[in-house]
Amino acid sequence: MSGALLQVQGLGIGLTRRGATVPLVEDVSFAVRQGEAYGIVGESGCGKSTTIRAVIRLLAARVRITAGTVAFEGNQLAQASEATLRPIRGAGIGMVFQDPLTALNPVITVGQQVAEGLRTHGKGGRDGGRERTQEVMRLVGLPDPQRIAAAYPHELSGGQRQRTAIAIALACSPRLLLADEPTTALDVTIQAQILRLLSDLRKRLGMALILVTHDLGVVAQTCDRVAVMYAGRIVEEAPIARIFKAPAHPYTVALLDSIPRGSRAAHPLHPIAGMPPDPAQKPPGCPFAPRCPRRSTVCETTFPSWTRHSGGGGFACYHPMEAGHG
């Protein structure tokens, strides 16, 4: 796709263990347009967090990119040096993590942490970023920014901490915000506030958002398009309405069928048996085949190639659902 803000192509990520490489993410490709909200959804261990961490190269020590490219505004990031990455992290791409308490420095005031990024990128101005700090803190809806800027993270509530983390990520006006389960640690009424905040900010600032979550409800309320990951691969990608109305991949269907939508008497759940495979012992072929009600022998030997949806996106499956499921 030309004109994409972020283009990930054939991304492979592996964990080096005892001289061998365990594949965590395989052949992942997607593109995010300017100002778009893109969701990546899947269960624990599916590689969704690893994928977005790879975008700004925040991978753990023994985890590395083994294949593919990551292009942000034309800059190649997958093999770039730290010196090349530095001006992009924070200023081009911001990131928000699941647990703001571990993402924030406990011994530095919140205001200093917001200003730190500004100064690093030479955007502090004459007052060392004080004015801009207060501006972004107001932008993320922190009440009384002057008082909160002087506070330490432990003095804030969970919701205020996540707003602070978002303020830090936004301080340098990035064009892309990566958010890894940003509301998972929050209560549901606070989650609603933060999701609304992210959507509002995205629209006001024209920023793109990649939201990684296990919660299809969060994706439905926030994203324009979504990728479903299973065992390190994207198995389906589609515009948001299509994923919920006409899912093609049996795993997408299984995920949707696992969400309680009323009492058991009225809407019984029919969950798929089993669990995702261990990355070190992934079966050949489609990793979902052992749990898939639609599998055939070919699924167990060869990973299916990508089939395009007519309205954008596509899926990797030999036996997709007929249109109109659910």
């Binding site: 269960e43 209560d187 609603a192 506030q193 969060v218 309680p260």
Partner: protein
């Protein structure tokens, strides 16, 4: 409900004192306390599934621990099968432990990492003499099968099992004493959606087949709606609404219940809410607001809300603690 309740909680109070600096104590400053339960009352009928829902710090876990007899209330009465659990002698307490069992959120921290699964399940069976000692192994195998685990799981260690399997072990262990009430605190919260659905169905099947009553504590409204016939909604140590889940969720009478339901992100992109989310955060449970605890965030609060709200009885075995509850339901 005409039936005698299996569990009856009446006017329960629990406060946790905060550590007071020595100087403050010497200066005669009042002891500050966290309000965990303030005049909480509800009942659970035999075989009923009751859901307790609320956000972190609302006191739902404390309430569960008091029902289990793990924590004494400051005031109020908990009757199990008509007996005051605070007045039981040693033998009575032992009998209560058999009848009221628990399942925790994280079975990994509640299972001994160096004990095989089979031994962990056998332990309570032996201690309470549930079956003759010659039949313990058979009973363990039966329980493993009952919770959907292969018999071979008995020889494994907790670390060799997945989260969903460990939660099944936790359930098997709780069931081993053949309880009448199962208290489950966030029992499916750590699980992935597909595995969560499996465990929810397991709990529902067990309840039906074994005639268990369930007190299911969760922050997840969807899960409560799926599993529980009745629900209690907690806010800042008080129960604000109680009644049949279907009716409460369809026509919430308390503004907090309404806000909570509106905040759940629905897995339906055509139902994106345009309503402004509930503003603010729950106030500190150390100095909860006077009168209605929700009035500081309530979009409908008026001056009368500074006085404690009455428990308004509503049609259909429901009540809500709001001055205006009757206006919302009819």
């Amino acid at each position: 409900m005409a039936e005698t309740p299996l569990l009856s909680v009446q006017a329960l109070y629990k406060y946790f004192p905060l550590r007071r600096p020595l100087m403050a104590a010497l200066a005669g400053q009042a002891q500050r306390r966290v309000q965990a339960a303030h005049n909480v009352g509800f009942t659970i009928a035999p075989r009923e599934s009751f859901g307790l829902v609320g956000e972190s710090g609302c006191g739902k876990t404390t309430l569960g621990r008091m029902v289990l007899g793990l924590l004494p209330p400051d005031d109020g009465v908990i009757l199990f099968d008509g007996q005051d659990i605070a007045r039981l002698d040693a033998a009575g307490k032992r009998a209560l432990r058999r009848q009221v069992q628990m399942v925790f959120q994280d079975p990994y921290s509640s299972l001994n990492p160096r004990m095989r699964i089979g031994a962990a399940i056998a332990e309570p069976i032996r201690l309470h003499g549930v079956v003759p000692s010659g039949e313990v192994a058979e009973e363990v195998a039966r329980l493993l099968q009952r919770v959907g685990l292969p018999a071979s799981a008995g020889a494994r260690y907790p670390s060799e099992l997945s989260g969903g399997q460990r939660q099944r072990v936790g359930i098997a262990r709780a069931l081993s004493l053949r309880p009448r009430l199962l208290v489950a605190d966030e029992a499916v919260s750590g699980l992935d959606v597909s595995v969560r659905a499996q465990v929810l169905n397991l709990l529902a099947d067990l309840r039906r087949d074994l005639g268990l009553a369930l007190m299911f504590i969760s922050h997840d409204l969807g899960v409560i709606e799926y599993l529980c016939e009745t629900v209690g909604v907690m806010y800042l140590g008080t129960m604000v609404e109680n009644g049949p889940t279907a009716a409460v969720f369809a026509h919430p009478a308390h503004p907090y219940t309404r806000a909570l339901l509106a905040a759940v992100p629905r897995a339906d992109p055509s139902a994106v809410s345009s309503e402004a989310p509930l503003a603010g955060e729950p106030p500190s449970a150390v100095d909860p607001p006077s009168g209605c605890p929700f009035r500081t965030r309530c979009p409908e609060a008026r001056s009368i809300c500074e006085t404690p709200p009455p428990r308004v009885t509503l049609p259909g075995r429901r009540w809500a603690a709001c001055h205006f509850a009757a206006d919302h339901v009819q």
